[in-house]
């Protein structure tokens, strides 16, 4: 049973059912039921035409649901049981599904869940496991999301930016449960990039590939976080880096810069350096300048301060930090790093302790606590 193929076909088959007259919510349910049947039955006897099989079975499930619903309401139902396969079957509505599932009326968590199910072809159980919530909760989240978008016209053009934000969220969740969300986000972004020619889609894909390339080096054997400067760069995936750089260069050549391209450019410069010392920090600062100009985001300014600290020394980095809100996530960690580089170990140790207290992940907290402990041991000795 080829689960990858099934999942690729999911949005296409939903699109076909919608074109035949099913509403999105019912089509999505019918396809999900068909997928479950395929997972059960295909291992023994895979069909020669998987897409045709899925369309047939999903359509039958849809008709069953409509009839059951009609008899519950004592109504007659008129749906063509055997629609004539026409040109509609040749059209791929996957792109429309991306837009619908990332519709701005949805909350981020709902858009993510709906995208993973309707576009990604994951089961509710898999999505629930990935986000560590009960299956019943995830099922409700998805059905509410479907109700929220029930009034949206399927073929209404959508906004690429909202889709990219959803895919970015999925990627950033990384690997928490049984499902590799980072890998899934890359698959969905690739699939999107194949259907729409947009420089920021390419930018996000490049960003994902370049970060994914470092995955094996990001955590130590004991699960600890390994910061970029200490990573074993021989463990970076050069194939993914090459692809990411290639995708990015073609996007940048279009001369329509956006935030994902700028972030990917920073990642590409890191990927390009064989050692931390060889990193082109001056160029990285320039890309952060672009990112700040594009987004005016305080997080971009914070990351810029780190880069300035490397390019022009810790004093310059601390100066770049001035004026930023100390309540920003990771502010204390950045300040601690720059203070230590500047030789103020007492302040650095105190800031690392503070940063550990406000860390939002366990791995970061442990890493920052080790930094504080390292400095405190040096100060005692």
């Amino acid at each position: 049973m080829d689960e990858a193929l099934l999942r690729t076909l999911t949005p296409t088959v939903i699109g076909i059912l919608v074109r035949r007259g099913a509403d999105f919510a019912a089509a999505e349910d019918a396809v999900q039921d068909a997928l479950v049947e395929a997972v059960r039955g295909w291992s023994d006897d895979p069909p020669r035409d998987p897409k045709g099989w899925l369309v047939t079975v999903a359509w039958r499930k849809f008709l069953d649901a409509v009839r059951a619903d009609a008899s519950r309401r004592h109504r007659e139902v008129r749906v063509d049981a055997e629609p004539v396969p026409g040109p509609a079957e040749a059209v791929d509505d996957t792109l429309q599904l991306y837009f619908l599932c990332a519709h701005p009326s949805l909350t981020p968590a709902s858009a993510v869940a709906l995208t993973l199910r309707a576009v990604g072809g994951l089961t509710t159980r898999q999505i629930a496991q990935a986000y560590l919530v009960p299956e019943a909760t995830m099922a409700q989240r998805i059905s509410r999301a479907k109700r929220t978008v029930s009034g949206v016209r399927f073929h209404q053009p959508g906004d690429v930016a909202t889709v990219l934000r959803v895919l970015y969220l999925v990627f950033n969740e990384g690997y928490s449960g049984d499902v590799d969300l980072a890998g899934e986000a890359i698959r969905l972004t690739r699939q999107l990039a194949a259907r729409i020619d947009h420089e920021e889609v390419a930018g996000l894909l490049a960003l994902m590939l370049l970060h994914h390339a470092r995955r094996a080096a990001r955590t130590g054997p004991d699960g600890r976080l390994v910061p970029l400067a200490e990573q074993d760069r021989s463990r970076w995936d050069t194939r993914l880096i090459a692809e990411g750089v290639d995708v990015l260069q073609r996007a940048l050549a279009r001369d329509r810069l956006g935030e994902f391209q700028a972030q990917a450019a920073v990642a590409a410069l890191h990927a390009d350096a064989r050692t931390t010392e060889e990193t082109d920090w001056v160029q990285i600062v320039e890309w952060y300048d672009e990112l700040v100009r594009l987004t005016d985001s305080p997080v971009a300014r914070l990351n810029r301060a780190v880069a300035v600290g490397e390019a022009d020394g810790p004093r310059a980095g601390l100066a770049a930090l001035a004026g930023l809100d100390p309540g920003l996530p990771r502010y204390a960690a950045v300040a601690a790093y720059l203070r230590e580089r500047d030789g103020d170990l007492v302040a650095a140790a105190r800031l690392y302790t503070e940063a550990a207290r406000s860390a939002s992940s366990l791995a970061e907290r442990d890493h920052l606590t080790r930094q504080a402990a390292r400095l405190n041991a040096r100060l005692r000795g």
Partner: protein, 134 residues
Amino acid sequence: MKYLLLKHYRGAPAAVNDVPMDQWTPEEVSAHVGYMQDFAARLEGTGEFVDGQALSPEGTFVRYDGEGRPPVTDGPFAETKDLIAGWMVIDVDSYERAIELAGELSAAPGAGGKPIHEWLEVRPFLTEPPTITE
């Protein structure tokens, strides 16, 4: 984002309607239990419920006592300041939503059928580190 809504037997500031549960009428106890169940069911319906559990007030302290020796047990200690009564884990879109829900949970009815106004502690979970950091 996941949050823990923590309910204390002891250790939280006093509730407004601070009458011990054994002084309520049986109907008031049932109304309270019903409110908690409805609340959990409603959160499951909104796709925000993760877990809810209640704890017995009686517990035991345990510690390692060296190689080959059984663990030492002690307590319960009447002087322990903090005593957890139970929790609910929610998965919501924002801190504001977590606060809103904790406020609703704190309105569970107590003596006289009036809201207890008890203090609940809202604590964010530590998560997995994000993939993209720089």
